[in-house]
Symmetry: C2
Subunit: 264 residues, 2 copies
Amino acid sequence: MPQYENPDLFKAALVIIGNEILSGRTTDANTPWIAERLTERGILLAEVRVIPDIEAKIINTVQQLSADYDYVFTTGGIGPTHDDITAESVAKAFDLPLERDEEAFAVLEEYYGLENLTPPRAKMSMVPKGSTLIPNPVSGAPGFIIKNVHVMAGVPRIMQAMMDHVLNQIQAGKPLLSNTVTCSLPESKVAEELTTLQNKYPDVDIGSYPHYRGGVLGLSLVMRATNSDSLDTVTQDIIAMIRAHGDEPRALSVGSHGRNLDVV
Amino acid sequence: MPQYENPDLFKAALVIIGNEILSGRTTDANTPWIAERLTERGILLAEVRVIPDIEAKIINTVQQLSADYDYVFTTGGIGPTHDDITAESVAKAFDLPLERDEEAFAVLEEYYGLENLTPPRAKMSMVPKGSTLIPNPVSGAPGFIIKNVHVMAGVPRIMQAMMDHVLNQIQAGKPLLSNTVTCSLPESKVAEELTTLQNKYPDVDIGSYPHYRGGVLGLSLVMRATNSDSLDTVTQDIIAMIRAHGDEPRALSVGSHGRNLDVV
């Protein structure tokens, strides 16, 4: 799909580290939030991987994604317990020593008090050599940036604060705009026309998503592009196509763009 | 972590194909459902990847995961539109021809009527040569199994019916049991004791998950094992540890096991 080759956009991968998503215990709420924030900044989320806290798996995943994408974001595994091995594994991925960051240590000393700075808590000041810290306004222990990898906490409230900090500083692309039009046509009825439209407008992604809501089958057509003129033109064509089939677009956002329009 | 090396368990990967999760438009609800069903059947979900509908990305991901895991499950991209390229890509991943399955064609003919079986609809009868079909009781178009890869729809209601069919036939492992104990201790306070317990009981996974609920920091300790005796012993040790710190486990499941106990 063209957006994944659009030179106006940076491409990012997200690595969710931790067994709680894989076990089904916790539903991942971080991906949609991160995807929206990245999109606003012209960064396309191009891949997500959920992996357990196994050192070899983290090393391999970080190496591969760091080479393949402009930016990598990780969540989880930077706490004080035995299953928090992200910092150590990322250091190994880049063949860097893990060392105490004095600024991080000072933050932890301030947060816990020196007398309560036990070895597990002090562990949270260890980062790969050469890292830049990401402040944690919620619970002290910072995240860090090394090369193009941004290592953040998994708890949503902390992750969001860290991500906001990162996104204020990161090199951004051109915002990815989107329009959504919904109708009640079966997607197989418009499949050939959608193919024609997609071929006609290669700089716009046209996605077709059938869904059941209240037992009724519906279809959402989602257009995404960095070029607002192309986006508007395709949207008008889609609306005309739906009307030509005797259906009326039931909810649509036309002529303006932004993440709030992505769900109608 | 030991469960990922436990010979009593099969290991599986899930590939979620489609741009709607990556764009943040849709929250993935399939992973927790699939994880729980697999766990019941002694199959550990060891990795999840969310990828866009780009042929090269699907081919590469399927090849890698099919080689690395006992089972691979995919969701999404088997409908009639231009962005539904999963079947074709999986065929290419295994260097197999994509061919019309007569049984699938008959199902689609029955579902749509021959006069309405347009090329986009007929496309849904195309599967890699040698595939076994997965019936779709909801909307006709089947999924399929080729080698260790199980290709299913992305719409949850259809995916669930397909998964139930697959799990009735698949070679299962020993069920992975779990107990959860929650408390209000900060995890950094029990980190060293948890490490000691984890080292003492290598056949049990001990996970430590801090969370905010209603603005209050809490801690869930999740134990997972296929051996119920080990699981019970660790659980008792964890409870004793919490009480030794002057806290009382607020919600716990002890002595019996199963997925309903996984969230307390």
